[in-house]
Amino acid sequence: MARRSTPEINAGSMADIAFLLLIFFLVTTTMDVDTGITRRLPPPVENPEEDIEIKERNILNVLVNKNDRLLVDGKIGSIATLKDVAKKFMIPVYPDDPNHPETELKTINLIGEIHTSKGVISLKNDRGTSYKMYIAVQNELARAFNELKDEMAQKYFGTSYNNLLNEDEIKAINEAVPVRISEAEPENIGGR
């Protein structure tokens, strides 16, 4: 018995099937990149009584209360001015001025001898503060540091901080502008 050759399968609709699958994956794909503000938490304190002494002039106190109002350095502040206040505080001033934080002479690779600020920004929030406000404050502080880094990068390497490619240069800038945001141990001031 002579075998009849099997008729060829019509592949014309293959494209349609593939399209269908393609559209399914197109719709379900989420290509969102997660973005956010990265911070490093301090290790837990061993004995809370032993406070680290930091001179008053080296601290910029930022307090946020449960009504999302700001107290910056003992005065009522606002989000709009926080960045400039923080920036002004963190710019190293030398010769020594008692109204500004102390400076420290450091020798940094690629930059050389430079005065760096010993200032610390202390952030304290209430349990009732809204997360939105907290992030806004964190963002403004980050902005202040980023601008300082940018200026430093511009001064020494002639380009903005984000455009630096050399690892050593990035490290040098990070050393020259240390990000010192200290978050106080939580305290229950205003209740939940």
Partner: protein, 153 residues
């Protein structure tokens, strides 16, 4: 002149579409490989706050997520902000165990680079967030990322 006439008579040849499925399949495979299916169902509402100074969160495999916000099903769970770990609601005390389990799932070398991404609803009070942060400190998960949307300003 006759040259042109003969061409006109034949008309346009049909485009060969036999390789079209292959092209489509190629695209299909690309999307199949890049797709990350959402593995958790959100039980809390998370509307992220906006910020300008954001960094990209790299290495998705080294990130664990903690969600905080008001429950989506307010009729059953109320409106008070809750914590969600994996697929279910959790209490603050459950956070260290969650961290330990997540660490366990990663290989030895990567454990120190684990980042905790906090996805918190913007209207959530800081109290619960601070509690979670304290737990993270105690468990040694120091690298955190406050998840925010990038705000074009």
């Amino acid at each position: 002149m006759s040259k042109f006439k003969t061409k006109k008579g034949k008309g346009l040849p049909a485009i060969n579409t036999s390789s079209l499925p292959d092209i489509i399949f190629m695209l299909l495979f690309f999307f199949m490989v890049t797709t990350v299916m959402r593995e958790v169902t959100l039980r809390v509402k998370v509307r992220l706050p906006q910020a300008t100074e954001v960094q990209k969160l790299e290495k998705k495999s080294l990130v664990m997520f903690i969600y905080m916000g008001p429950p989506t099903n307010t009729a059953v769970y109320g409106t008070e902000s809750r914590i969600q770990l994996n697929d279910q609601f959790a209490r603050v005390e459950d956070v260290p165990e969650f961290i330990a389990r997540e660490r366990e799932a990663r290989n030895e070398a990567d454990r120190n680079f684990l980042t905790t991404s906090l996805k918190v609803h913007s209207e959530t009070k800081m109290g619960i967030v601070t509690d979670v942060k304290q737990e993270l400190r105690k468990s040694g998960a120091f690298r955190i990322n406050y998840s925010t949307l990038k705000n074009q300003k």
